[in-house]
Symmetry: C2
């Protein structure tokens, strides 16, 4: 059995990283782009659980893209309460703004063991100078993240605790699926109920109650470190969940056409 030349070139025999897989959802990579991305991915770092990758108020470091594991972006307020802004999954940027902002206005911590690709600012600048299409892909990453923030904002502003929790579970499940981490309704959740609470703007106690209610309504099953979404359609209906906002899709036709016209 012969290996396809192009595949061998692209992947070097190993499955593509979450980062590459996401890039290829947005656009096909030219050989030059593909090679460049491979070079970017050559530096890989490992972080134990509970490591701070970035700290609120500090100068931004390099840019990291998660390869494996979970991290959270969060901020602690003066009164001591914590708000988790987003969960960072494989293929996500840890601090997308590091290239354009001088200081970080949130912290990033690993929850599990994490491995990540490191991109230097010089490499990002290089992308913008030499691979404008990849630069636009980075814009796409950032827009997707913004879309998630907007949807979270809608949850906190206009959905009940019960709905919010269902919505978050569905989102995390979908985002894991995009990146190829299993599943069919089986959601790996290496986080505590306090994480969920701080992300949903609720108390841990209330998250617990809502989780039990979801269980009682046979919408989910909760196990150690994982949740099984037993009735996905039911959850979607309750949460008003529509996965369109995740924009798990390619470059718009008219943008691709503009590129084609520009040559």
């Amino acid at each position: 059995m012969k290996t396809e030349m192009s595949t061998a070139l692209r992947t070097n025999g190993v499955p593509p990283s979450a980062f590459r897989r996401k890039l290829e959802i947005f656009m096909p990579l030219s050989p030059a782009e593909s090679e460049f991305v491979a070079a970017l991915e050559s530096i890989e770092l490992a972080f134990p659980p509970g490591t701070d990758i970035a700290r609120d108020g500090d100068a931004h470091g390099d840019v990291y893209v998660l390869k494996k594991g979970w991290a959270v972006r969060y901020k602690t307020l003066e009164n001591g309460s914590r708000m988790i802004v987003d969960f960072i999954l494989p293929g996500d940027f840890a601090s997308p703004a590091a290239t354009v902002f001088t200081t970080a206005d949130y912290s990033v911590t690993t929850i599990t063991q994490v491995s990540a690709i490191r991109l230097t600012v010089a490499q990002i600048v290089d992308i913008f100078n030499r691979f404008p299409k990849l630069a636009m892909a980075i814009g796409w990453f950032s827009a997707r993240e913004g879309a998630c923030l907007i949807e979270r904002l809608i949850s906190l502003g206009r959905r009940s605790a019960y709905q919010r929790l269902a919505h978050l579970l569905l989102e995390l499940w979908q985002r894991q699926e995009i990146v190829g981490s299993l599943s069919n309704g089986r959601l790996v959740l290496p986080i505590t109920q306090l994480h969920l609470a701080d992300s949903l703007g609720l108390s841990a106690v209330h998250v617990n109650r809502m989780l039990r209610r979801l269980r009682k309504d046979s919408l989910v099953q909760v196990r150690r470190g994982e949740v099984v979404l037993a009735d996905i359609e039911g959850l979607k209906k309750i949460a008003g969940f529509d996965d369109a906002y995740l924009h798990f899709e390619g470059m718009p036709k008219r943008t691709a056409m503009a590129y084609a016209a520009a040559g």
Copy 2:
């Protein structure tokens, strides 16, 4: 009295637009970039109040940058409630994601009379291909918007209604100041209390009560269509407001150095 040559070149005698002013906060424009931006700004459109610039679920149109007036980005849920995601002020993009997403997942409506610059997708692609530094500036715009979303998220998740309102007023005031609309504590607010409520995840009734409380505590004075922030320090203290997240600042040194190194 002689006009400076460079200034005359940059502005053609008229004050720079909010868009250009913001760009120049991030980085100095080269003559070529400056000329290109001038060309971008040549097409200007006018929208009466209450016009939909984009609609939830529709295919994205062109990209608009506000020149004058106010608009809101919002979404209406199944249950009929509305969530305002952000206010769009002069110099802001109306739908930043239009180049990378096919369909919009929110609507944009003008509140006041609005004039806006229209950028076609082809022009954006042109920016990425020919002016990589401007492309990064667009990345900065988008990151700033993300930072505002994050701060709003923190408000909704972990701040009381009273704090949230104070925080929003301070943000709107600062954002107006950045763009050069006056002020010294005098905040032009062409919006209703219902707008504030839908933006803060509150009911209009409760916004009214909190506004009155702010007034009673001599922190603000409310007039028709404007709010005077009478005690800015007091408001900041209550809201836990720190303007760092607005990133009203230039390109980070190390990014500029990477550009210098690349030539």
